[in-house]
């Protein structure tokens, strides 16, 4: 078979067009006339908010291009350590070992707060269930096995609880949500702390494992007598039944954005200078106790001054203007006191010894 002259010509034209396009792209990349590109990766939980921040920030500052990939908290820390990204993101603060294994000092900037809520499927129960922390921990420890257990009844007088076995549902994939949930249990139950501990991927005692928030939701919605945990934002969007949890002050509180911000405010006294803190089981009358920060992570000394400046500007914009987008997306904004302390951390970024702000 022979190509006709015509089709050869078309083919040649196509090749030339592609070459020109590649050359144009390459020039664009090399030149970078004034535009700075930032690459970030990490936690999936704040991803919708960060995407919103990026699109709003680049409207105001077209010279900065930011790309964020939600690969998971663990992956974010790993990429930061390998210096393949300009900033990482994680729901749990980095551990001492992780900080030691990093090539330079890492700054934690809290961006927003989230919460873990308890959802359930109990036939015959009409009003929202209430749980004391110890009861909840003992359900997940397999010590309370029936829905009509006397201790569940004590928290829910008058509720029509069936005599069925409880099936617990947990995340089968490693997750920051799981970390917050097990961190809370480790604080309220010494037995949990000893047997299971706080971890993104603990060894569960029985129960059903489901992948992702959607997997847990599907399992709980479709299986009677189950209990599970998901992120607050996910529960609100899907209108799931959520339980009230008894906080340290002894009040049963519904998971709300204000309750989560209150948890951060209640934990200020114990928040260290570097802002790496767990705020589960915090003090305060209106606190929702299973709450947590999510962080952006970056090296204190930025190698590239232009990139460092862009990152600092982005973070500064985020904890001020960016916080206004939080509530709409079901994230809790930082309390004013923490914004101030985060400002100080942003001001501590340097490049070659010179401050970036």
């Amino acid at each position: 078979m022979r190509l006709s002259n015509m089709s050869l010509r078309v083919f040649a034209f196509f090749i030339v067009a592609v070459l020109i396009a590649i050359a144009a792209l390459a020039c664009n990349g090399n030149k970078g006339g004034g535009t700075v590109k930032l690459q970030g990766a990490g936690a999936t939980f704040p991803n919708p908010l960060y995407q919103k921040w990026i699109s709003e920030f680049s409207k105001a500052t077209p010279s900065v291009q930011i790309d964020y990939q939600s690969i998971g908290s663990g992956g974010g820390i790993k990429q930061l350590q390998a210096q393949t990204v300009d900033f990482g993101a994680s729901d749990a603060p980095m551990t001492e070992e992780e900080l030691k294994a990093s090539p330079g000092p890492v700054v934690h900037i809290p961006t927003v707060l989230g919460a873990v809520v308890i959802t359930y499927n109990v036939p015959g129960v009409s009003s929202a269930l209430r749980f004391s922390p110890e009861v909840l921990a003992d359900i997940y420890l397999g010590k309370i096995t029936k829905w009509n257990d006397a201790r569940i009844h004590a928290d829910n007088p008058g509720a029509n609880l069936p005599a069925n076995d409880i099936s617990t549902v947990h995340r089968s994939d490693s997750s920051g949500t799981t970390f917050v949930f097990t961190d809370y249990f480790s604080k309220v139950s010494s037995e949990w702390k000893e047997k299971v501990g706080a971890n993104k991927m603990p060894k569960w005692i029985g129960g059903i494992g489901a992948k992702g928030n959607e997997g847990v939701t599907g399992q709980v919605k479709n299986t009677p007598n189950t209990i599970g945990y998901v992120e607050l934002a996910y529960a609100v969007q899907n209108k799931l039944p959520v339980a009230l949890i008894k906080n340290k002050a002894g009040n049963f509180v519904e998971p709300t954005i204000d309750g989560v911000t209150a948890a951060a405010a209640g934990a200020i006294a114990t928040t260290p200078e570097d802002l790496r803190v767990s705020i589960t089981d915090a003090d305060g009358a209106t606190v929702y106790p299973i709450s947590s920060y999510t962080y952006v992570l970056a090296y204190q000394d930025q190698k590239d001054a232009a990139k460092g400046k862009a990152l600092v500007d982005f973070l500064w914009w985020g904890i001020h203007d960016g916080e206004n987008f939080a509530k709409d997306l079901q994230y809790a904004p930082l309390p004013a006191e923490i914004v101030k302390r985060a400002e100080a951390k942003i001001n501590s970024f340097t490049s070659g010894g010179k401050p970036l702000r």
């Binding site: 992956g75 099936s167 089968s172 490693s174 991927m201 603990p202 060894k203 059903i208 479709n222």
Partner: protein
Amino acid sequence: MREAGGRRPSLNSFIKSALSPTGNLGDSVFRLLMFAVAALMVIFVVGMILALASHSLPSLRGFGFGFLTGTEWDPPKTIFGALPFIYGTLASSLIALVISVPLSLGVAVFLVEQAPSWLARPVTFLVELLAAIPSVVYGLWGIFVLAPILREHVEPPLARWFGSLPLFRGPITGIGLLTGGVILAIMITPIISAVVRDVLAAVPNTQREAALALGATKWETTQVVLVNGAPGIAGAIILGLGRAIGETMAVTMVIGNRPEISLSLFHPSYTLASVIANEFTEATDDIYLSSLIELGLILFLVTFVVNAIARVLVWRVTRTSAAAGLAA
């Protein structure tokens, strides 16, 4: 095809003839190209095994043979045992085969031997369409439709009638080994039945005519056809089994993901592919990552061993059935 095998040149003479300028140049180039493509596939497989093995060295060194026999999986305490996952993989695949093989054979026999062509065509199309559904969709369907059906209408009677067997004991949630096996069965049925259909269609019509001429009933004729197609049918089953062992997403969504070995089919279980999919993204420390990669290596070996066993079985069965045929 098979007759040509006897006349295939040895590798040495093959390369020589391919390189020698005698003969048609186009033929030599074509031969070399095909040889390169085939070699590339072999290199892929060998390279993959080597890569898996080298990345799992830390866990191979750290846990040794105990990794295979360990029944505990506790990443925070760096305790890694693969046995629950191996068990879950084999058990769910076995359930899938037990359900799927009779189903697939039935579909294929109906389509080739009985259905009029105006019916066979649309049914064939629909069965093959099942193979094109993404596995995550099967998983969602499993959670929302299949698991409730099994929980309400299948598992309670099983527990009532056969509860004396350890297979059907324990709490009924609709999530577990049985649900995983059933969803796998549905996923591999189109593959097995499509291949079996082609195999049966390839059985020469003279065989059917001969059987009918001897006064055989339709059912007896079908038996003759099935015996004729036995090696091909076995190949189809092996193909389905391979798919079942490696399937990840749909199984993960319905099997319950609990690394425990329990005889009960109602109990949550866990497969090799599922645990890798669940834990790989956040496995940050080296020994954890290495252990997951070793699970991948084991998955490779399990597939290999199961395939080998299946092939030996096929070889034996076809030999004895051929012998029986001669004796009769």
